[in-house]
Symmetry: C2
Subunit: 182 residues, 2 copies
DNA sequence: GGGCACATGTAAGCTGTTACATGATTAA
DNA sequence: TTAATCATGTAACAGCTTACATGTGCCC
């Protein structure tokens, strides 16, 4: 069937920025790609094993006893470019907040308002996080060539978060009316 | 472990609006919840079987030979309310477009621009779809009590789509500059 | 010596998709 | 009659999470 190996893109991509251990890879994916991507250890370690067996990455012994540092091989870089150029898999959305709001009549306007308030708080927290990411990037001159692309994803996150806040404001008025009619 | 059964929420929820067959259920989920939810036959039919065995839904013989119409039982309605009130599962984001743009340096500015143009077209198509949904809802007085909640989800989709368009405009300027430096 | 962060990996099991198999009804 | 749509279901498999098992090195 060969669905594009999305995990491979993330792993090879991260190692293309700089060599690191599986643990650091997970850290990097969580903290840097966290707002649009996710990988668990159960995905990462088998992926590293497979990619190593395929000659796409190389393992060097790290500074600690049992630790390894993985880096891209030439074949790995080619494979990454090939994967990046493949058509993207359609994302099948599953938004549990929307599912609840759609059946919101059963929950009532006040519970719906609480759910939306949660979403608002998350969006606010995200905007603060993006602010911090921008500040941090400005202090790291070594990634200058990648930075403009990274900022595209930060900007996307900011636009989405601000859209959530605007939407939440809209909802508030509607739900207040419904609540008054109780 | 008992992760909340999200499929059950969608199935019970849909049947709470009106009784229907498994096939119609799939249709309804795809067309009505499509912009924020998804279910496949491989999920729906086993779920219907299980929910029937648990006495949460009832099966009546439909108009066609082998067809069934499912409707909520009282226990099913209770279960739905219970599931809706449960905390939402955290969504683990996986946005293949952002993953590609993050490593966009390897693709180059022109390919990135193409990817963003695709996203823009999708957002435009979505806005047209939401327009159509609003028009259709206005002609269906029987769902008046649910409509305000449904419109919350439509509004969310519209805000997100407009945010995508604004973001795409932003990106275009950045990428045009990068392209000129080639 | 104890706790924490770093580090690697596996196994069980659930979720969800895809492809397949089958058949009824309706409209052209 | 034949194609499209309606309709039900299963089996194989891919993807992913969680929990577990194990160990190192550093700092207090």
């Amino acid at each position: 069937m060969a669905r594009p190996q999305q995990t491979d893109v993330a792993v090879l991509g991260a190692l293309s920025i700089e060599p690191m251990s599986g643990y650091a890879l997970r850290e990097a994916v969580t903290s840097v790609l966290g707002h649009f991507w996710h990988e668990s250890y159960g995905q990462i370690y088998p992926a590293l094993k497979r990619l190593e067996a395929d000659g796409l990455i190389e393992r060097q012994t790290g500074t600690r006893g049992n630790s390894s540092v993985f880096s891209l091989t030439t074949a790995g870089a080619d494979r990454l470019d090939q994967l990046l150029a493949e058509p993207m898999t359609v994302d099948r959305p599953r938004n549990p907040l929307m599912l609840r709001l759609f059946f919101g009549r059963r929950l009532g306007p006040d519970v719906c308002q609480e759910l939306i308030n949660e979403a608002r708080q998350q969006a606010t927290a995200q905007l603060a996080m993006f602010e911090a990411i921008r500040a941090e990037m400005a202090t790291e001159p070594q990634y200058a060539a990648d930075r403009p692309y990274w900022l595209l994803t930060v900007s996307a996150g900011e636009h989405t978060a601000r859209a959530t806040l605007a939407w939440a404001d809209n909802c508030e008025a509607t739900l207040a009316t419904l609540s008054r009619l109780h």
